[in-house]
Symmetry: C2
Subunit: 418 residues, 2 copies
């Protein structure tokens, strides 16, 4: 008898029929002898409807009231799911954030979970009931309702799984797992059977939108095995697990891409100590988030450096005047902007022990005639900035070049269990 | 500086524009120097939409889950109203049932308020904020969300007004007050300026749907002055106040009618001690609510009595087999049913001190050729059962016969202030 958490996203509870399917799946797990805790998102479309109402009332709605409104989507979905389980002859009880006591800070609309009281959930399970917990929501120490930001139900699910020490957290979604790359771009993309938290984190932050980043961080911290799978089939999905668990014997786990960023290029920045610190200090003060940062001494003139960084395209309009002001104050010669770029990345724990992976990536791109505008690396990731028009070509070439379509293990030492 | 409660029903918050009007009205009261607590219902149509969702999932949805769903309507309306006040430049904060701590029993879908903690409301007011309380909802001692039944927001408003000792509870609605009778039936119906709790209770229970009965009971118990008025104008409405406050100098305050009941007639019930007790005991055991009860010894046979009672038409289909069974067990000769009836009533505190009011009512009806099928009286009310087709005629005749169109006071002793 295991204790499992099952999380269903907005599409999985998007209609009455789908809610009935969710109920059947929970009951099936219970009949197998498991104690079941279900986390649900709002029915798809509902959160947008609620936010739309709020924005009709106020262009910039108060964040506390926003959360009071947005949290009703999950409240309704949780109660409907509990009812559906009862209609199938099962026993269930919906639990809201303030009823479980999912304690968060008071950063409304993007709160972070501080602690979860497991007692109400255990009490419910002890009654033989399935606990249906509303995702995405919590409560601060003053009893205000908070929400965890978009995709927050993943975080709710993993955090609850950690709090009750569940044997697994199943994330039911409309895709059947994590792929080596976007199957829409690369038809040979392959479903990964096991991936490490670290790799999943890099993939999530690089634009593979299967799991919210924060949920992977929590899973890693508390070593919660996460199973990403389809709510429309019984097939195994992708297990996100600790590095020490048996993993696929691959160097590169996946190829990610991200078209959401713009590039800013400071040309001829004075090359003396402290200038770059000053530049990014001012940017941070203005609350502009930057992603990649690349600096080079420029060849064209002495005592001048070029600095490139990327930021979200959606922030560019707001950030431009600030950036121009910073540029003037630092005596920069020119600032160039480019929105027509994409970041293409390879991710894999194997990079730590295999040399030459980055060089192989640059060679694969060069062989396709793709110019690399900037490079950034971490321990288990290499990212290249390329012209946006090359995105799909680059992804396909890297996927093939690193042999990701091939099921791993065939060449792997037999000792590595799957 | 006064402390006022303003309650807005579903029509008054039925659209974004109307919510903006509510915000303006609350702010106007605050600018006059009042501390303002607002109670809102769900936007009109929303509660039905939510109940519809629930009934799609389960034909008989679990009552606890029902309340978790239904309460979101008021939650959204309260947060939107707080946002609208903020958008107008004011300060406001929404408070849910569990945040105020409106404590109820656990009779889900029809819970009763047991206590209200006023501290959160006072804290909000002390911050200079308008407290926007979600109506219709409370919380039981285990933290479960409860609702108070249809029209429950009136009860929320009056109970909150009692808890914070407000100087008045204003009920904003889509009519501009309480009328001497239904203006749709009788064009000379007049808006009553002041009415006693007792009279309002009788009128409410007789089908004048302006205020929920339970809210009037609470107002009477805690002596909360209630002001029923239009949310679309600034005109004074109707004050519902204690008998000791100066009231209109009238004998009959209003004429009510109710077409929602059916008549059941037990013919030839054995006339011996205990039979009637047995009859209504069995009816109560089967959870059938009866309204009027009239018993007469019948002229047709010795040792036999006729008993008539009324019950809601909507209960009749369900109750019929039970009633037949009871009739058989008691040896009743015949049971007759009549759904084509109406109850017409006059209500007024003055009846206590004026003799002959009932006789005058019977005379007025007789003069119109209306046959009275049954009569029931209370201290301040006389009700007559008549054929449904006579309803409007009876109402108009009684309204004219008791001179209700005339503004009172003109003939009253000048000592009675209005």
């Amino acid at each position: 008898m295991a204790l499992v958490v099952q999380k269903f996203g907005g599409t999985s509870v998007g209609s009455i029929d789908r809610i009935r399917n969710v109920a059947k799946r929970c009951l099936a797990a219970q009949k197998r002898g498991d104690d079941v805790v279900v986390i649900v998102s709002a029915m798809s479309g509902e959160t947008n409807r609620l936010l739309g109402l709020a924005h009709q009332v106020a262009p910039v709605p108060n964040a506390r009231e926003m959360d009071a409104i947005a949290s009703t989507g999950e409240q309704v979905a949780a109660a409907l799911t509990a009812m559906a389980i009862q209609a199938e002859g099962g026993r269930a009880r919906s639990l809201l954030g303030h009823q479980v006591r999912i304690m968060t800070d008071n950063a409304f609309t993007k709160a972070r979970i501080k602690a979860i009281d497991a007692s109400k959930i255990f009490e419910t399970l002890k009654n033989g009931e399935i606990a249906v917990v509303a995702g995405f929501q919590g409560v601060d120490e003053n009893g205000n309702i908070t929400t965890l930001g978009r995709g927050g139900s993943d975080t709710s699910a993993v955090a609850v799984a950690a709090a009750i020490n569940a044997s697994a957290c199943e994330i039911y979604t409309d895709v059947d797992g994590v792929y080596t790359t976007d199957p829409n771009v690369c038809p040979t993309a392959r479903k990964i059977s096991r991936i490490s938290y670290e790799e999943m984190l890099e993939l999530a932050s690089l634009g593979a939108k299967v799991l919210q980043i924060r949920s992977v961080e929590i899973a890693m911290k508390y070593q919660v095995p996460v199973h990403v799978r389809s709510s429309f089939s019984d097939a195994e999905g992708t297990w996100v697990v600790g590095e020490e668990s048996a993993l696929e014997d691959v160097v590169v786990a996946g190829v990610a891409y991200d078209k959401s960023e713009a590039r800013v290029h400071f040309v001829g920045l004075e090359d003396k100590p402290g200038v770059v610190a000053e530049l990014f200090g001012q940017i941070a003060q203005r609350n502009i988030s930057v992603d990649m940062i690349i600096q080079n001494v420029t060849a064209s003139s002495n005592q001048r450096a070029d600095v490139t960084f990327t930021l979200a395209k959606t922030d560019l309009a707001r950030a431009k005047p600030e950036i121009e002001e910073i540029a003037r104050s630092l005596g920069t010669q020119t600032v160039r902007y480019d929105e027509d770029i994409a970041k293409v990345s390879i991710v894999g724990l194997g990079m730590r022990s295999h040399a030459g992976i980055a060089a192989r990536m640059f060679r694969i791109l060069a062989d396709e005639g793709i110019n690399i505008q900037a490079i950034s690396t971490s321990e288990i990731k290499v990212s290249c900035l390329v012209a946006a028009k090359y995105t799909e070509l680059a992804v396909r070439a890297l996927h093939e070049g690193f042999d990701l379509a091939k099921v791993p293990g065939s060449n792997a030492p037999p000792a590595i269990a799957k």
